[in-house]
């Protein structure tokens, strides 16, 4: 079961603004999905290694050789708020 507080906490972690309706729906939907997912606890996974990759590769590395960078104008072309050659954002809450 997922409580409303958990929905709000996870939404904050995910940086998602949710409407009241969305919060209510997610509380229900996530609980229902996790009920199904919880069937995984039926499986004995003791001693089984996790798989994060199915490709049997290692040491795939790149030589330290420069490739062309983007023109600055190109890099900033789609930016919502380009300013003075940089990407402008609202400042993070002052930390000091």
């Amino acid at each position: 079961m997922i409580e409303r507080e958990q929905v709000l906490h996870v939404a904050r972690l995910s940086r998602l603004k949710l409407s009241e309706e969305e919060v209510a729906a997610l509380e229900h939907e996530l609980s229902s999905i996790l009920d199904h997912v919880d069937r995984l606890t039926e499986i004995d996974v003791e001693g089984v290694e996790p798989t994060s990759h199915v490709v049997p590769l290692e040491n795939v590395l790149r030589d330290d050789l420069p490739r062309p960078s983007l023109d600055r104008d190109r890099a900033l072309e789609g930016a919502p708020d380009p300013h003075d050659g940089a990407f402008r954002v609202p400042s993070p809450q002052a930390e000091a």
């Binding site: 997922i2 958990q6 929905v7 996870v10 939404a11 972690l13 995910s14 940086r15 998602l16 603004k17 949710l18 969305e22 729906a25 997610l26 939907e29 996530l30 229902s32 999905i33 996790l34 199904h36 997912v37 069937r39 995984l40 606890t41 039926e42 499986i43 996974v45 089984v48 290694e49 996790p50 798989t51 994060s52 990759h53 199915v54 490709v55 590769l57 795939v60 790149r62 983007l70 190109r74 890099a75 072309e77 789609g78 930016a79 919502p80 708020d81 990407f87 954002v89 609202p90 400042s91 993070p92 809450q93």
Partner: protein, 485 residues
Amino acid sequence: MAEHELLAATATETAGLIADGVVSSDECLNAWLDRAAEDRLNGYLWKADRAAAMRGVDPDSGAPGAGVPVAVKDIFCTTGVPTTAGSRILEGYIPPYTSTALSRLSASGMPMIGKTNMDEFAMGSSNENSAYGPVLNPWDHGRVPGGSSGGSAAVVAGRLAPWALGTDTGGSIRQPAALCGIVGLKPTYGAISRYGMIAFASSLDQCGPLTRDVTDAALMLSRLQGRDEMDSTSVGIEGGVELPSAVDLNGLRFGIPADLIGEGLEAGVRKVFEQTTAAIERLGGSIESIALPHSDHGISAYYVLAPAEASTNLARYDGVRYGMRESEDDLVSMYEETRGAGFGPEVKRRIMLGTYALSSGYYEAYYGRAQRVRTMIVRDFDKAFGQVDFVVTPTSPTVAFGLGEKTGDPWTMYLNDLYTVPMSLAGIPAISIPAGTAGPAGGGPELPVGFQIAAPAFAEQSLLEAAFALEREIGFEQEPQEVER
């Protein structure tokens, strides 16, 4: 030659006509641009003009398939062409680079006729999660084409493109191919570069062809596959891929996972599946029962792993560097409002699910456990392939369902992937071929049914040979009815 003949030809046949000088590549492109312009299925999100279609294309490549235009799922980044991944958050985004997969097709002389509609960030099995409206199934406009490569499947089935490029994370090529009555191939993870393909779940995503027949799938795969230095996880297919030519299945063993073929399978789909296994036997293949004891947990594992990877892959859509931005108040509001307004409900649901599964205190219970179950599913397949050459299942438990029919309950929608997800988790190649038609459970005109064949990793050539022989034996020739609603 008459235009309707050109449009009826497969991509491979068309390439032959161009190579033989029967039609010029220009005539071919014009004919298909005209067709795409008549999109009645909401299959395209962007349509090329001649100049845009030819951008980056080598007209003299002389490569197999040269001159045959291709429709491309809007998940592939394309320099100078809008790329949205079906999401509002990327509205107006124009990438400064092109994906490796599309570059390879361009280098092979294939123009791009358009970008196809899709479920937002490839999350969905019905194409109803597109921010730009659902795609209609060309067999019945009241039904879904499947997803997430619904646009790619619909434009090929509806003769709005000769063939198309799609992506498959848990079934997103195979399931829409099945629901639209065409061929869809998900290659082995690592066979084709993922560079420039917008990530959903990085350890599962793989692109592949949606085509009229198995030969076309082989032809496109042969151009796409290969190691790419821009993708650390790409391998390519050793020895390449050739057009298939097998005429029988003598001596080949096909395994049916008894654990998977159970409830939830529509009667009509079951019947077509049984007819197809009978066809295998007629061709000299044998049918055996195999055990994939953990595969029915595939959906559960998948709906932890894929959302978890997605939650971090989609974190970059933050309103800072590209795409839309909402609110200028303060940083946190900017993030939350941009993402809250930019993502649709299914994407939010999966981000939430994935964030939860990775969050402090839950990681081992969900993500860690799902990764271990994945290991067990991989081992199940290893063991099965010690016994048989191929694993076969229906591609989807149902035929195309009605628009809006399954949007009420996420888990019901997720069960569409029951047969396709285990192969994705194992990273092995699988193909869906049209195997017949069946009436939907609630009554109505006949709809196509797909048959899925899976093979061991990098055994694409033998998979294509088997699918080719079976395709001939089945002789599926029905055309979409375009039932209007």
